[in-house]
Amino acid sequence: MTPILRRLLVAAVAVELAVCGWLVWGRLARPVPALPAAFPDDPLLAGEFAVLAERAENGGAADWMHLGESLLGQGLYGHAERAFEQVVALDPRNVEARFALAFCVERTGRVAEGNALYEKCMEAVDGPTVQPSNKKPFALFNIGRNHLRLGDVSAAEAAFRRNEGFVPAEYQLARILHATGRPREAEAVLQKLLLRVPLALELHQLRARVLDALGRPAETFAAAAMEERSAHLIETSFGTDYVRPFTSRQGLRALFAGYDKQMAAHDAAGVNRAYEAIVAAVGDRRIPERITVLTLQGDRALSAGRNEAVLEFTTKIGALGDGSVGRLALEGAARQRMGESDAARALWERALSMEPVAELHRLLADDSDRRGDAAGRDRHRASQRFREAMAEYRSNKLPAALELLRQAAQFDDADPVIWFHIGEIEYHLGRQESADIAFRRALELKPEYGRARDYLERRPQ
């Protein structure tokens, strides 16, 4: 080999050494995901997180992001924070990671630090070449709430004002205006918001307080009366909404989510596979899913007509200390099928003494009918219709609710609560005379009925 060639080769080897050394060092020094030492409450998590961690360690930003979100879904804020930091290091313009990082930091009590990170997140949203993101109003909302956590009302107000057009932020602004003695400004904000979200519960609740502060009693009453039929809720904290999608990615929750999915798809084989996996994973661990699994086993046994097995499962549930309506109802159903109708009835009545469930009223109405007990049948039919009516009413379906209440009153016209709610719905439908008749009927039946009395005394004429 010529000297020149040799020198070139030496130079090439030197370059290779440098490059390979750099690669090896980069590999040896790569960040390692932080994981908890153990997952004592879920037997599946250790293995699943080991896989996610390995992928992240050997992968890129997307793998770290997936790991971070999965850790967050298990409530491991500190561990998730480290994963999101790595995403931001690899991909500084990643808005989702910046938001997640800020969230982890502020949820663990580092509120001011969290706000600084939300600001960085918003800068990333506004920066060039970032994928479209809806995170900005949420980041700004959380900044406002965090200022309140720090006791800085002025800074919070400024943050909510910056978030104009985002209903939850404008609602927070109205709250601040009310709390700081500016009811007229608060009322103006609320009026504007109610045009956009007419049946928002929080808006009506706050408006009732604002109008009370303004000394307008008739309007206060009308705003307060909107409470029951306001089916829309305005978010005041987005923490659970944000985390929820990540909660059932791993572990037992993923198994349960898979079961629900198979059920929704009516895939019997898939349901059975998911069921077997859940039963095997939960075993007899001291975790809340133990009762859920036993109840599931009881329900399946009932569907399969294995009534004795149902009783075995309800006994096991009881042995865990559970005295729930669900357990009593399940045992009642098995007893009924075994021909022990007296025992079933007693169990259902115990369950109803705890919780007024429409379906149990239906079962008892049918049972009373079989026994020739017309009074009992009608009482339960009235209660069943009443429960169904309330569900319609609270979904703001007033005519349907009223129809069911009228049916309930036909079965039992001596129940003052039925008449009260008839009056309430008639009031909302603008039929004042019919409302008053119903409220008076409720008061006749129950003279101590304060809510009925209040309606008659306080409603606007």
Binding site: D41, E355, Y449
Partner: protein
Amino acid sequence: MPLAARDVGLLLLAAGLPLATWLSLPHLPSVRRPAPVFSAGNSFPPSVLPFERQPLPLAHGDAGLPVVTNVQVMDLDGDGTLEVLACDALGNRIVRFDRGSDGSWRETTLVRDVSVPAHATVVDIDGDGDRDLVASVLGDIFPDDGVVGRVELFERDGDAYTRHVLLDDVRRVADVQPGDFDGDGDVDLAVSVFGYSRGEVLWLENRGDRVFADHHLLGGPGSIHVPVADYDGDGDPDIATIMSQDDEELWGFENLGGGKFARKMLWRSPNYDLGSAGLVAADLDQDGDVDLVLPVGDNLEDFDAFPQPYHGCLWFENVGKWTFQEHRIATFGGTYAATVDDLDGDGDRDIALVSMSNDWSNPANGSIIWLENDGRQSFRPWQIAADPIHLVTVASGDLDRDGRPDLVAGSLNLRRPFQRVGGVTVWRNAGGKERGP
């Protein structure tokens, strides 16, 4: 021209180095350690007062996960000894624990089929000389805006209790407290309808024969407790409450006589995440009026609660004319309940606090602590225990009749981790000065 050995080596190195790197790279372990993870929460010096832990035998407690919403210490049967009264929200029961002469405990179910009892108020409501139970029925332990609450009276007749529904068609009821609010000589009731998105505060006027008329005092969700006391010192019982669901507001209801009340907002926090978790009426500074003690640390709005720097305990000093001055007296992550007693027997009023959501990943973080009062309402925290965890209720009383107040607490095992599981636990106070008669 033949290649020299070193040339061959050089060539092999040039070819082999990238190849070896490429092949070995995926198998090289990282030499770095995972970055340390942030943790928080609070631990304190071990208590200077010795406390001996004694778990009480809640039925099925070894197999299930107890959900205890309330504990109280009281003489339920009037025999001069104190018992523990507890609300078991998993079993939907109200239970009583009696201490035997050998120090062992026995559990008795007083009433069953109470749907998630939040509190049991012991009061002779019908004036027949025995102690009835009034249950605050939540109806659902989880967030629920349904009309699932009740006020139920369990009228005592010998050893049996007969159920009467006093208030129905309301949302989740968290507390009921007695008082003769209209001055007619019978027992009326103040009611916290916690609800969820909707709720209210009521008082129920006793019209005799277990008939109660409902009177609306305040609308809004999140009323936790309604301690009744003569806050303004005018001789009649008033009502206070803490609203906590999103607003954090302390309210007073001044009894004007004749069943009329004037409501007063006593305090509000701009921090909607503060997490007020209860309200205790007590004359903490022993100046003759009734103060209010507010444990703060409920952050169940998150799937996984984490202790916050503003959690702990606030004292609202009654300075007269319905003015209450705020003092922060402790910072303790996840504080959920407080009880006031002279734990060290030095004549002033100390406080015990329990935590539902300290940072349980650190086994040193406390679940029950006490605050030693230096006599000038400056408090020093001492840790009693870090096990069991998830404590949401605490009460005090001399259970072993040794002259020292003991502590009893209850665990609400709904959230992870399901470790260090407890039900109802007594901490026997084995130190401090004995109180005088």
